[in-house]
């Protein structure tokens, strides 16, 4: 990055299975007010541009862009919607600052999944209408097929996948914002009813409602306003083929390519050494393992054993999803990537409470847009401008 960009403010509301007391506008407004107080900015005066992420069919509204400005303080300001994950929105915000024409840019993402009564039908409508959709299969079948191929090629076992669930939902017990903390044993996971083999019910993250707002700033503004900026050292995003027919199934190639882009920007040559902790997508238990390997944080087939051995636990050598991940916090639709970034920022600031890791200075956040996409993004964050030499 020629000109460093930092996250100087974070705000969130939720995360709970249902939020009946607030409309989506009030849910987002609460997160935005917290983010602006945290950053020390007034949105009506100090913010140059706003990026929001959403998908029409998740909101139940065509052109949802219409309904985003007011609750983030963006009315009559430059505001635009990216239909992607929150990390795509973060990339859009960072690029605007890097042009040199914007000093402070806000990113917003949210989920009101509890308001969606027919989510599997909506997800199925993302599949190819001619080649795939007429088969009328539940989209979880696509995850089942990917899990089958990944475990075949990596040697990962169901017990290793179950260990991810146990770890993340236990981590969530120490995250007051998490919706699905629990103290489970691997057997509980393995005996839960099969959904799309080899996936069992407890290996599938439940959805939660919530909103997350981040405030980004250029170096000068960050230096002035923030005691502990979280510098974005690198960001990357990539898509593999959207078609089921010609995509890579065992390897998360989108995560490999997004990570390569982010590592190049961050000057990271050996991620397994230089990344101290990470928040990665765990929409399904096997995805955390597949993504760890794709991110180069361990080699193919090693993520499962490392998890069972406790290496990725909070006290392990490579803490993964200390927040609880989607399995523990709850899956937040387009805001999922921002939930990953949120935890990395809190850790880098030393504000993660009972989840706080020790001396950390470089963390990674990674997201995936879920079935049936092959779209992912990666951000590398540090609390030191240059990132301490390991």
């Amino acid at each position: 990055m020629m000109h460093p960009v930092a996250i100087i403010g974070v705000g969130w509301s939720g995360f709970r299975p249902v939020t009946p007391d607030v409309s989506y506008k009030e849910l987002i407004y609460e997160a935005a007010v917290r983010a602006y107080a945290d950053a020390g900015v007034d949105p009506r005066r100090d913010v140059d541009s706003f990026v929001t992420v959403s998908e029409d069919f998740h909101e139940g509204t065509s052109i949802f862009d219409e309904y985003v400005p007011d609750q983030i303080g963006g009315a009559q300001r430059p505001v635009h919607t990216i239909t992607g994950d929150g990390l795509h929105g973060l990339a859009a915000a960072a690029m605007q600052i890097l042009t040199g024409r914007f000093r402070v840019v806000v990113v917003e993402g949210h989920s009101k999944a509890s308001n969606i009564l027919t989510l599997p039908h909506i997800t199925a409508y993302a599949m190819d209408p001619i080649l795939n959709r007429p088969l009328r299969a539940n989209p979880l079948a696509v995850a089942g097929l990917e899990a089958c191929r990944y475990m075949h090629e990596s040697g990962t076992t169901r017990e290793q996948c179950a260990a991810v669930v146990v770890k993340n939902r236990r981590n969530a017990l120490r995250n007051p914002a998490a919706a699905f903390g629990a103290d489970l044993r691997t057997e509980d996971v393995l005996v839960s009813e099969a959904v799309a083999s080899p996936l069992a019910r407890l290996e599938i993250s439940d959805h939660a409602d919530g909103a997350i707002v981040l405030v980004l700033a250029d170096a000068e503004t960050a230096g002035r306003l923030s005691p502990r900026p979280a510098w974005i050292r690198g960001i990357g995003w990539a898509n593999d083929s959207p078609s089921l027919e010609s995509r890579s199934w065992a390897r998360a190639v989108y995560a490999e390519q997004a990570a390569a882009m982010a590592y190049k920007m961050a000057g990271i040559g050996n991620p397994a050494e230089e990344i101290q902790f990470a928040e990665v997508d765990d929409t399904y238990a096997y995805k955390e393992l597949q993504h760890l390997e794709a991110l180069g944080l361990c080699s193919l087939g090693r993520a499962g054993p490392l998890t069972v051995e406790g290496a990725t636990a909070p006290d392990g050598c490579l803490p993964i999803n200390v927040s609880g991940g989607s399995l523990g916090v709850g899956h937040l639709l387009e805001a999922s990537g921002l939930a990953r970034v949120l935890e990395v920022v809190l850790q880098l600031r030393g504000q993660a409470g009972s989840r706080q890791l020790g001396d950390v200075y470089t963390g990674l956040a990674q997201s995936w847009r879920g079935v049936p996409t092959t779209s992912g993004a990666v951000a590398v964050l540090s609390n030191q401008l240059g990132g301490r030499e390991s």
Partner: protein
């Protein structure tokens, strides 16, 4: 001072509604040719990208990797190999399917991509990666030019490999 936020449980309201989306999709030139061959001749066609030495099945108009237009149509299958399989227990509306449906990724002989389709005529416990299968077409009078013109993939007969 802000609005009095104290709501009581019985104040909570939600508005019920739906998004009316009714669609009709045309197949495009490549889809037209692929599904006509399925419908009229029970043949499965792919297109080959010479530059990338890659055969897409079903056949496509363009190569996603090099953007060349694809005009080299070749027949593939009908037999192939299971590359992934899942036993799907839930229907689209989340209710339990009894019996469950087997979905599979099948690499047809001659193809470099897989087809996503149903797997039948085999017990879930026997449906494994590597199983040799073949496309089971519906009778010609029941074929309409749809992915469902293939009823599903079946294990190859005992003597065929």
């Amino acid at each position: 001072m802000p609005l009095d936020p104290t709501l009581h449980a019985d104040d909570l309201q939600a508005w019920y509604g739906s998004m009316p989306v009714t669609s009709r999709y045309t197949y495009g030139p490549a889809g037209e040719r692929f599904f006509r061959a399925m419908k009229d001749e029970a043949r499965i066609l792919g297109t080959r990208c010479g530059r990338c030495s890659l055969t897409y099945v079903p056949g496509r108009l363009f190569c996603e990797r090099c953007f060349d237009e694809l005009t080299d149509w070749i027949e593939v299958g009908p037999s192939g190999t299971i590359e992934a399989v899942t036993v799907a227990y839930l229907a689209l509306d989340g209710t339990l399917l009894d019996p469950p449906v087997l979905m599979a990724l099948v690499r047809l002989d001659g193809a470099d991509t897989v087809m996503y389709h149903r797997l039948g005529g085999v017990a879930a416990s026997d449906a494994k990666i590597g199983l040799r299968v073949e496309a089971a077409f519906r009778p010609s009078e029941d074929r309409t030019g749809s992915i469902l013109d293939i009823a599903g993939f079946r294990p190859l007969g005992v003597n065929e490999t």
